[in-house]
Symmetry: C2
Subunit: 280 residues, 2 copies
Amino acid sequence: SSERVVAAGGGGWLPEFPNLSPSHRDLMAGILSEIDSRAGPLLLPSSVPADVRSFENEQGTCRGALDIRPGVVDGSTIDFILASWLHCELPFGALDITTMFGFLNATTDAPHLLMEFIQSSPKSLIIFMDLLPRKDLVLHPDHLTTFYEDTHIDKQRLELKKVTGALPYFSNSLYIRSVLSPTAIALNISLAEDGEVNMEEVLRDRVSPVSKEVARTWLDKCVCSERVVSEVERADLVRRDSLIKTKTVEIDLAANLPRLFGPDVAERVVEAIQKAFKIK
Amino acid sequence: SSERVVAAGGGGWLPEFPNLSPSHRDLMAGILSEIDSRAGPLLLPSSVPADVRSFENEQGTCRGALDIRPGVVDGSTIDFILASWLHCELPFGALDITTMFGFLNATTDAPHLLMEFIQSSPKSLIIFMDLLPRKDLVLHPDHLTTFYEDTHIDKQRLELKKVTGALPYFSNSLYIRSVLSPTAIALNISLAEDGEVNMEEVLRDRVSPVSKEVARTWLDKCVCSERVVSEVERADLVRRDSLIKTKTVEIDLAANLPRLFGPDVAERVVEAIQKAFKIK
């Protein structure tokens, strides 16, 4: 196997995914490098079997890679970090999806991190970046203040909103919409077919800096913040987090992977994720 | 006084507010008439003193009207219906805000209704229409299904999104954003200065039909739905609703009314609302 050995704290993630454009690849590498630089020592090596770390469909038209690194058992607020790459040659063109999930455990009630980038054509990019709330913000306005107002995270949304062709994006899934925070970056950037700007520049010059800032905010204010969580709150967090994980797998993966990779590969990948998510 | 006497079940709301444009006036009248036709018998007469039902600032440049009708004590799921009209002559032009709040009591966990229309220029309209969730939808996906998926309410958002010049609107207040549902209509319609379409037509032909459909959905699926609510849930609902009411008054009214109407009038109006909201 050409995969690098992944060592705890060694900053090791999956090797460069060959099918992505350079800027899209650098974007994900940049985010993971931010994570490593601060949270590397809090992470264990990859927990994913080799045939899930890298997989493809029978025809060889779709390729995927998945890496999940659990947090160390003692003293880490991190439950796991998930990173995934997906490349599919479809009738209408290539589809590229990269995802990064930073899930915290119930020793803290600070938000999770979600990053997702979906390129379904050279001129189109859908972006999700968010600190996913752990509690109902209507009932816990102090959470809103601590993690969303005092961190000035909405500035990052306003920054990306300025990109020409960027419009707010609404997921078809109402559940996904309800999981997002009020400062969620959910954008669809559509570049003019004959325009001068190309997506590589947008990814490199606009999306990448914002993604690093969001990752840094998460590392500083969520991963590394000291929170006091009671036993009762802890049980509530576990229950709510489990629902998010179950629903996300259901909506995002179980619905799409079989179509792209066939039932066997899809089942293997979904099972590995469910195991890491502790929802099965 | 020129005000009509308001009688329970008589469909009586405040008289026509003179300062609104015809289509904006018809919009609010249409919504209140929908409410009356179904919920009229469930409502008591106005509970607001005369000097709050109609008020203005010293200079006579700002005028407001407020009506609050509580639900009947027995057998109504309605806590109160609030309707308000605001007209201000400001240095940059006229500002018109109409608001309609339908709040349910804790015998049901079905959503509240919010409608707000803000015209700050003849070419600009900000719209809020939403079924405000009573529970954390992430933790209660059954609520999402019952009130937001099965009702197909998102169709109404998609309908209004088609209006030329309509763009998603993000409130400056993160709390207001977090109170809204995943199907909330939060739009800013900006018409071209030299365009052929005028706002009166948009209000009459596009906004009004959608507002009636949203009101009907609320009446059918929320006001009139049979819900089983346990004692514990009831206490939770009261706590969450109180927070929404307190925060809304704080963010929306306490911040803006003194500026527009002076401290004395503002205090009187805010107090009447707090009394109806049972938050003071």
